[in-house]
């Protein structure tokens, strides 16, 4: 199994088409090719963080600045960002458009990802964070655009879950 070159390209094109000019991220395997494109694009600002919760603060700063910004992280990284999501974004009404590599679901071969994958949807539901799964490269561009639009209109975190079907060949 390898990370999908074509679909990483499609997702990055979707991010660009949604008008996003800034990304905060913590690299993980599924996001690697995507982040490489972001780094190579002179019109995209990529801010790599040491821990995902920082990205919530950076996203708030970008929102105040009026810069279209998204967050890229793994589901386990989102767990480490939860207080920021709740006590900054949700508390103050700050939108977060999160693209989350969701590890540990159907077909997961790695034991270390499984527990996080099993609880991801329950955590999102408990926090009233709207989410959708991205499985189809034909649809992911539209889903990114819609996630962005909804985050801005609801002044809320939203999550687009990038699945194995999309991220691996």
């Amino acid at each position: 199994m390898t990370v999908s070159y074509d679909n990483s390209k499609t997702i990055f094109e979707g991010i660009k088409a949604a008008g996003i000019t800034s990304i905060s991220a913590l690299p993980e395997t599924w996001l690697g090719l995507l982040l490489q494109r972001a780094e190579d694009d002179p019109d995209m600002q990529l801010i790599q963080v040491a821990k995902e919760e920082e990205a919530v603060g950076i996203a708030a700063g970008a929102y105040f600045a009026g810069e279209p910004h998204i967050l890229l992280m793994q589901n386990h990284g989102m767990f480490g960002a939860l207080n920021g999501i709740v006590s900054l974004a949700q508390l103050y009404g700050i939108p977060l458009c999160m693209l989350i590599a969701v590890r540990g679901h159907w077909g997961e071969p790695y034991p270390w990802h499984t527990r996080g994958g099993i609880v991801t949807e329950g955590i999102l539901q408990a926090l009233s964070i709207p989410f959708e799964h991205a499985r189809d490269p034909e649809k992911v561009g539209k889903q990114i655009q819609e996630a962005w639009t909804f985050s801005q209109s609801s002044l809320s975190p939203v999550a687009l879950l990038l699945t194995r079907d999309l991220m691996e060949d």
Binding site: Q48, G57, G61
Partner: protein
């Protein structure tokens, strides 16, 4: 030295800056001097004030951003210092008031009490070049003036007493602060 003294010294300089404070005493002491629309008070999410400052500074290179942080909050986001060092926004001044105490949450000693943990050394070790450690109002004032004139990322670690205001309260709902701060930032941007 008391934090309130330092904030009062800074206050006249803050009018044309964007200011992010942490929760509790720092926020209250700034608010009590007179709220301005360019102040954002992060009343929770400890650790993220510097990350908000980084997001502002990187996307608004024409603004000067000042973060009023504390030892307890910085200890919750030490990685954030490394991220600041990596992106090195020229227009960010990160002031850490080190009172050695988790004052706002009961006054328990933080790891910096009695100089066990040296936040200035951590900031330098994270890769931040301009780090000043001060413990008198005169040194604080000098360090602040130098930092504001420097045109580079600066950190000031100011040792202060573990005291805060007698009364807490703001006539400013949290989302209201966010909405008005954003509007203020956007108006300043449009006016340029």
């Amino acid at each position: 030295m008391e934090r309130a003294q330092c904030i009062a010294m800074l206050y006249p300089e803050l009018e044309d800056k964007l200011v992010v404070t942490i929760m509790g005493a720092s926020a209250q002491e700034l608010y009590d001097l007179g709220h301005r629309e360019n102040f954002f008070y992060l009343q929770h999410a400890m650790g993220l004030a510097s990350s908000i400052g980084l997001g502002l500074a990187l996307h608004l290179p024409e603004e000067q951003v000042i973060v009023l942080d504390g030892d307890g909050s910085v200890l919750m986001n030490l990685g954030g210092l490394a991220t600041l060092a990596r992106y090195r926004p020229k227009n960010l001044l990160h002031i850490i008031f080190d009172n050695g105490s988790l004052l706002s949450t009961g006054g328990f000693d933080s790891h910096t009490t009695a100089g066990i943990t040296d936040l200035a050394a951590i900031a330098r070790g994270a890769g931040i070049e301009h780090v000043a450690a001060v413990d008198s109002p005169m040194d604080f004032g000098e360090a602040a003036v130098e930092a504001l004139e420097r045109d580079d990322l600066s950190v000031i670690v100011a040792k202060v007493k573990a005291v805060g205001p007698d009364n807490y309260g703001m006539d400013l709902a949290l989302p209201e602060n966010a909405f008005r701060f954003k509007r203020c930032v956007q108006e300043r941007k449009a006016a340029r």
